[in-house]
């Protein structure tokens, strides 16, 4: 339940999200689940929130809608609930010789909920629709690696870049070709070694023909292909899913009916779980996290798991604010932050101190990449800063979006910096997330600012390339290191996974050398459930694993 918008890529932990984190004492490995293997059937209710956009997988980049769509749509690839490792779902095979030309065969006989068969063209059409800029699909940028993507983008300026001359040159990407009913090919502009991993993200789901007849009506009652079908979306109240009897995949759900009850705030949802009026709450409010209150409220009915999320502090680009140019100054600031105490006191243990720029949940994670620069040492921080000639400006600023519950930890972080370095540090709230992001995007934000990254797909690449490659979409600090870019390109072209991971790790080590940003902590998700259900497990994405949940 991170409010993290996947598109903006950064930062969004909504108020809900802050509350979302769990609590805990660091023993989060081991059994976060109660015993599985319960009976099939029955109904459950789950905490839900208002989807931001119509329920179309290509247009949903936040978890309120995403949690629902994950059940309604199956994808080519399925991520393992525990390890996030990709396995073929609708795909029979995904083959490539050069990481640039991919041949995808889909299983025969798969059906959408309306009974039509899933064919190769359902994928190609959906992807072209999503990438075609005038359609304004939220997840359109996921198709960027595919050849011909640029021709589907608008070129005009102003309020409506798609008007008149700005209209895209083409409506279909040249890199997508339907071979036969069950086979299609993808050609990417550059080598992309982890493309098969990406295909499990909801943006890559197939859409039935009925979608193209009336996309708007479809968004209110989507016809999917997953283990559950959507019965009704009662706006502001609930979203009701029922089991898809025709589901032939390997990951069916156990319960017959899932109702997402929509709440404005997680506190009442939590109270409903205490009263057994709601079955699963996918995040725990801050009020119950303090002193592990939820553990005594919901004994044996809570779970916590590390999920693919990292929070960092970015530095404004040198052209905007040169005060943070020196690597030594950056390292001094990083060493001045007492991550352990902040996590314990502000987050009640629902974060893990970051020791690098990549989340531990993905394959290729290497511990302690940041080294001593991410270890709190007030004296060393001060001496490092003095050796670097002190802080050039009069005060350090740390900006955050004031609508996301970030005030507490930014204030605590600033206090920690202030006490260790003796330099004034001010946490500055920016009124809301949209304003905050646009100030960063326009390169007007000075000083340091917070950024959160929720992985789109479980790959080490997703934590490095979009954030730190020269000119990448979410490279907010305008970090640029040719050596880093080179390693990322090499890794993307590598055919051997181990080799690719090692190259990515080398690239990450460069981030540590340059202190491209300050890693803060990795996220955890905490859930609680009522007496009515059993077998609740948290996936590596922080969602409920519905293949395990059953009614008690």
């Amino acid at each position: 339940m991170r409010g993290t918008t996947r598109t903006v890529a950064v930062a969004a932990m909504s108020a809900v999200a802050l509350l979302a984190a769990g609590c805990g004492s660091g023993d989060s490995d081991g059994d976060q689940s109660s015993a599985g293997g319960g009976a099939e059937g029955g109904e459950i209710t789950v905490y839900g929130c208002n989807p931001q956009n119509p329920l179309v997988p290509q247009n949903t980049g936040e978890t309120c809608g995403g949690d629902v769509l994950d059940q309604v749509f199956s994808k080519l690839v399925h991520y393992d609930a525990d390890t996030a490792a990709p396995e073929n779902d609708q795909a029979e095979s995904i083959d490539t010789d050069d990481n640039q030309n991919f041949t995808i065969k889909i299983k025969q006989g798969l059906k959408f909920h309306d009974g039509t068969e899933i064919k190769a063209k359902n994928f190609v059409d959906a992807w072209n629709y999503a990438a075609y800029a005038p359609n304004g699909q939220y997840n359109g940028y996921f198709f960027e690696p595919i050849e011909g993507f640029g021709d589907l983008q608008c070129t005009g300026d102003g309020d409506d870049p798609c008007a008149k001359a700005g209209k895209p040159k083409a409506e279909e990407m040249t890199g997508l070709q339907v071979v036969d009913d069950y086979t299609f090919t993808i050609k990417t502009t550059e080598k992309v070694s982890n493309l098969p991993v990406r295909l499990g993200y909801s943006a890559f789901a197939a859409l039935p023909d009925v979608f193209f007849d009336d996309p708007e009506a479809f968004g209110n009652k989507p016809v999917g292909s997953g283990p559950y079908k959507l019965d009704a979306w009662n706006k502001e109240q609930s979203i009701v899913l029922s089991k898809n009897a025709d589901y032939t995949g390997d990951w069916p759900g156990k319960v017959d009916k899932i109702t997402f009850k929509i709440y404005q705030d997680v506190d009442p949802a939590y109270n409903d779980v205490l009263a057994d009026n709601l079955d699963i709450v996918t995040s725990i409010p801050a009020s119950a996290l303090i002193d592990d209150k939820y553990k005594s409220d919901l004994p044996d009915r809570n779970a916590q798991k590390e999920t693919g999320r990292i929070d960092v502090l970015d530095f404004a680009p040198s052209s905007v604010d040169p005060n943070y140019d020196s690597v030594e100054v950056r390292k001094a600031i990083s060493m001045a932050i007492d991550r352990d105490t902040i996590i314990q006191q502000i987050f009640n243990g629902t974060r893990t101190p970051a020791t690098g720029w990549v989340s531990p949940v993905v394959d290729g994670y290497k511990a302690d990449q940041c080294g001593e620069a991410c270890t709190y040492d007030a004296e060393k921080a001060k001496s490092t800063l003095e050796a670097a000639g002190g802080f050039p400006g009069d005060k350090i600023t740390l900006s955050y979006n004031a609508d996301g519950g970030h005030k507490e930890w930014t204030e605590a972080t600033c206090n920690s910096i202030k006490q260790a370095l003796g330099v004034d540090c001010v946490a500055q709230g920016v009124v809301d997330f949209a304003t905050f992001r646009s100030q960063i995007g326009d390169r007007k934000m000075k000083g340091m600012f917070r950024a959160g990254w929720q992985m789109d797909y479980p790959s080490i690449e997703n934590f490095l390339a979009p954030l730190y490659k020269t000119g990448a979409s979410s490279n907010d600090g305008d970090y640029s290191n040719p050596e880093f870019d080179d390693l990322i390109d090499q890794a993307a072209a590598a055919t051997d996974e181990a080799e690719a991971n090692s190259l990515y790790q080398q690239a990450e080590a460069l981030l540590a050398e340059d202190m491209a940003s300050i890693p803060m902590w990795y996220g955890k998700t905490t859930m609680g459930w009522s007496n009515n259900v059993t077998g609740v497990k948290i996936t590596a994405f922080g969602t409920v694993d519905y293949t395990q949940v059953s009614v008690q």
Partner: protein, 310 residues
């Protein structure tokens, strides 16, 4: 906002005391005499004095800097090395409560002065001049009166430019401005009706007949005799404005960092309601006591100024 429903004519001379001679018995001394006998007055006066000293010289009460936290001891209970414990950030709650008095007293005082000046002036002009001026001013007052205080203040504060967040005084002034803009009409109405009541009195007519200028008549004859209800309401309102400031700060739009305010502290302590309620209790108690003190003082003043209640 409290409003006086019945405005009494100021007492002239109390018949019971008429027999005593040699002592000047002005309205003020009369009120003072009555107030001195009221224990409510003394209780509230002592409390207010303490709060005012707290606001002016917080260093007398604590040597702890309210902006230096000990994060490792965050949420510690009262008595664990500090009088009132520590809050979520590890700030000393006792020091925060002491330093929070300044913002509340300043906002309450400035807002009261502002509303008295603005509302009083408008009320006197409307009441004394009458006619279309009265209608115009009263209707303008009605427009502001119709805006709910909190809603209006939220809109007002959110739309103010960032300039007001520059330093402590400006942050306080911003809240004062919002409350004055929305609070003056009740005092203007009160003043207008008092003035209308005083205006037909013989001594006013006599002064006019003798050729006194309107300014002089208002200054020497109307104002002294019409001021009492406004003083009472302004005093009671002072407490209400302190509460309003805390409410706005609680909502995150009133006072902001670097200002320290009870409202801010209450807001940040709310998550601990079930687990560490002391974080909420102490700033809440200080706020309640301050509001109570001013409302009690207002009550005592009313008792003193209103001869009917004697």
């Amino acid at each position: 906002m409290t409003e006086q429903s019945i405005v009494e004519a100021p007492p002239t001379v109390d018949p019971h005391d008429a027999g005593e001679v040699g002592e000047e018995r002005s309205l003020a001394s009369d009120a003072w005499r009555a107030m001195r006998r009221n224990p409510l007055f003394w209780v509230s006066a002592v409390m207010i004095a303490v709060f005012v000293v707290m606001a002016a010289f917080p260093g007398l009460f604590t040597r702890t800097d309210p902006t230096v936290p000990v994060l490792a001891e965050a949420r510690s209970r009262p008595g664990d090395g500090t009088w009132f414990g520590r809050d979520i950030q590890g700030y000393d709650i006792y020091a925060r409560c002491i330093y929070g008095a300044r913002a509340s007293i300043l906002v309450g005082l400035f807002t009261s002065i502002g509303t008295v000046l603005l509302g009083g002036t408008v009320g006197v002009i409307a009441g004394y001049v009458g006619g279309w001026v009265d209608s115009l001013l009263s209707r303008i007052g009605d427009v502001f009166f119709a805006i709910p205080l909190l809603l209006g203040a939220i809109i007002f504060l959110v739309s103010l430019p960032d300039f007001f967040n520059n330093n402590y005084l400006l942050i306080v002034l911003k809240v004062v401005l919002a409350l004055v803009v929305l609070g003056w009409p009740s005092l203007a109405r009160l003043m207008r009706s008092s003035v209308i009541q005083v205006k037909p009195n013989d001594y006013v007519q006599a002064a006019r007949a003798l050729g006194a200028s309107p300014g002089r008549i208002i200054r020497s004859h109307v104002l002294p005799n019409a001021l009492a209800p406004m003083i009472v309401v302004a005093t009671i309102n002072l407490g209400a404005y302190i509460a309003a400031e805390a409410t706005l700060s609680f909502l995150g739009i009133g006072l902001q960092y670097p200002a320290i305010s009870w409202g801010i502290d209450i807001s940040s302590a709310i998550v601990g309601l079930r687990t560490t309620p002391h974080m909420l209790f102490f700033p809440g108690m200080f706020l309640s006591l301050a509001v109570l003190a001013f409302i009690m003082l207002g009550d005592a003043v009313r008792d003193a100024l209103d001869p009917k209640s004697r």
